[in-house]
């Protein structure tokens, strides 16, 4: 049974089509959902939760129909919205434990799991204080905790690093990666930052103007290219000339020479050339594609500002 399956899933508003005939079949894993603002990411997430009714088509999560079997399904789903969603004058402990019960957990289990979950997301003594005194980072942790407290099989995280500083962002991504791997919970992570998706996810879906542009495993997208990167100690120019003389086209990129690798004999040629010129070989590797190279800069905010 696939984790998520949609058939011609469509959401139309008076003037815009937010999601257009989406056909999707996803297996469990950590799935990145990318697209510009307004591309339909949040709409898809809300349809999968049953927060919105589809205009047409249907969606299934873990084999349950999102429109008809909502309450049953949502016992096993956690949702972290993009926007603020926390009450101000209750403590994190009280709020998260209440939310656990609304997900169907008995009172005592809700209490126990709240204590554990808040520890996992890194909230300690402050969990007994009213939420209104929390920093943005702490609030994001509470939002994550309420989505995790009932041990869901799937978590839908809508821009979870919004508003966080670089350090907080880093911590949040580490935590999400842990939830997906160690805790064994499937995750759909929406982000407009490719670097985040690349760091955390195993699979990527791209949506643009409500349509599915691509759905592929991350390993495929960032597969090794046929470009060989060579870095030598000095004499870069000499090596380039030597390779070109051998009929190989060379591109210089900073301190690195890029060569199109058609077969393995190229490796021997490069090695021999380096030895003959008596250069120090620093790096000889097949470069991997970066996710950002796949996307047009205009489509997405691709600048890497998350590794601060």
């Amino acid at each position: 049974m696939p984790l998520i399956r949609t058939e011609q899933l469509t959401k139309r508003y008076a003037t815009v089509t937010a999601l257009d005939s989406l056909d999707l079949e996803l297996e469990s894993g950590i799935i990145g959902l990318v697209g510009a603002n307004g591309a339909g990411k949040s709409t898809l997430i809300k349809l999968l939760l049953g927060l919105l009714d589809p205009t047409s088509g249907k969606g299934e999560v873990m084999g349950l129909d999102v429109s008809r079997q909502g309450p049953e399904l949502r016992q096993f789903v956690g949702y972290m919205p993009e926007h603020d969603c926390l009450p101000t004058d209750v403590s994190a402990t009280e709020f998260v434990s209440h939310m656990a019960q609304i997900s169907g957990l008995p009172h005592a289990a809700a209490r126990d799991r709240t204590a554990e979950t808040l520890r996992h997301v890194g909230l300690f003594e402050e969990r007994y204080r009213e939420i209104k005194g929390y920093s943005t980072g702490m609030k994001q942790r509470v939002k994550l905790a309420q989505a995790l407290v009932h041990d869901p099989r799937l978590m839908l995280l809508d821009e979870p690093t919004n508003g966080l500083d670089p350090e907080g962002r880093e911590e949040m991504l580490t935590l999400i990666r842990r939830i997906g791997t160690e805790f064994g919970i499937a995750i759909i992570l929406s982000s407009h930052l490719l670097s985040e998706i690349e760091r955390v996810c195993d699979h990527l879906i791209e949506i643009e103007d409500g349509r599915l542009i691509r759905s592929s495993p991350m390993a495929e997208l960032t597969a090794p290219t046929r470009v060989l990167a060579i870095e030598v100690d000095g004499g870069r120019r000499k090596l380039a000339d030597r390779l070109e003389a051998a009929g190989i086209s060379v591109t210089e990129s900073g301190r690195v020479l890029l060569v199109q690798k058609d077969d393995d004999s190229l490796l021997d040629i490069v090695r021999d050339a380096v030895v003959e010129l008596d250069l120090g070989l620093v790096r000889l590797e097949q470069s991997r594609r970066r996710l950002e190279e796949l996307f047009e800069p205009a489509t997405l905010t691709a600048q890497d500002d998350s590794n601060g």
Partner: protein, 294 residues
């Protein structure tokens, strides 16, 4: 990176939850209990409690006075009759409703917590029902409870417990029936108005206006217009409606000086109106939550 020191001390590894999941009914029950606490400000700051609990105490005051005087007096003294109780505390009822209902539904809208409720083991109408039940219970605690306290107190302090019950048992269904209808009506009006806006001040004023303005308008038209129109005008004012239905439940004729028209309108009309209006208000409340964006 994560706080590694704290991590190594507290990190016991993640445990999956294999226990029972109680689903939708439990979710509604939990929402109800949580909301009921909210009506009285329990689990919140002192000031959040002060209003509702203060009003609750005031609402019990007439019953307590009656019992105190009754206990001291040598013969049976009735400062007021059960059917007059709600009229004595009608302003308190309206204020309780105007404070409680925005607290119950406005907060979740203001803080956008609705999205979190609707993405759990609930349906949207369950949310409306849970909130309505909580507000109804809150209202019952200041309508039904003081009446019951007074009834039981009179029976206990009277000369003969059994005699009192035999003579007055008919008051019990009247107490329960009138309290239920009156409380549904108030809960419905309060919640429907409060669910229209996330601004507490607006909904509080709106709810008070719904009671006070309709009362004033009904009174004004009633006194100026001719009798045939006047008596129907009373049907738009919740204060008049609950007075009418209470008199019917206790089988008492209205005071001819205060409400001439009620002599003409059979009491059952007010009862039926309260039932119809409460149902309509609840249906509108459910509809509101089926459509609200979250």
């Amino acid at each position: 990176m994560t706080d590694s020191a704290a991590g190594s001390i507290y990190d016991l590894g993640y445990r999956n939850y294999d226990g029972i999941r109680l689903g939708r009914r439990h979710a509604i029950w939990a929402l109800y209990l949580h909301s009921l606490r909210g009506v009285f400000g329990i689990g919140r700051s002192f000031w959040a409690k002060a209003g509702p609990i203060g009003i609750t105490i005031l609402a019990f005051l007439p019953a307590i006075l009656q019992l105190g005087i009754g206990a001291l007096a040598t013969q049976e003294v009735n400062i007021f009759e059960p059917e007059e109780y709600y009229r004595l505390i009608q302003v308190l009822l309206a204020v309780f409703c105007a404070i409680g209902a925005p607290e119950l539904v406005g907060r979740d809208q203001r803080t956008k917590t609705l999205s979190l409720y609707f993405s759990r083991a609930l349906r949207r109408q369950d949310y409306a029902l849970g909130k309505f039940a909580a507000m109804l219970t809150g209202m019952l605690s200041i309508t039904l409870l003081p009446q019951l306290l007074m009834f039981v107190g009179k029976a206990v302090t009277g000369d003969d417990f059994g005699d009192y019950l035999r003579d007055n048992w008919e008051d019990l269904p009247a107490i329960v029936g009138s309290a239920l209808l009156l409380s549904s009506l108030f809960a419905g009006i309060g919640l429907l108005i409060a669910s229209q806006t996330s601004r507490r001040a607006y909904s509080t004023i709106g709810i008070l206006a719904a009671f006070v303005l309709t009362f004033a308008i009904a009174e004004a038209i009633f006194h100026s217009a001719d009798e045939d129109v006047g008596k129907f005008v009373l049907l738009v004012s919740p204060f008049h409606v609950f007075e009418g239905l209470t008199l019917w439940f206790f089988d008492v004729s209205p005071d001819p000086d205060r409400r001439r028209a009620m002599v003409d309108l059979p009491g059952i009309v007010f009862v039926l109106e309260a039932i119809a209006l409460s149902s309509l208000l609840l249906a509108l409340l459910i509809r509101r939550y089926e459509r609200i964006s979250a």
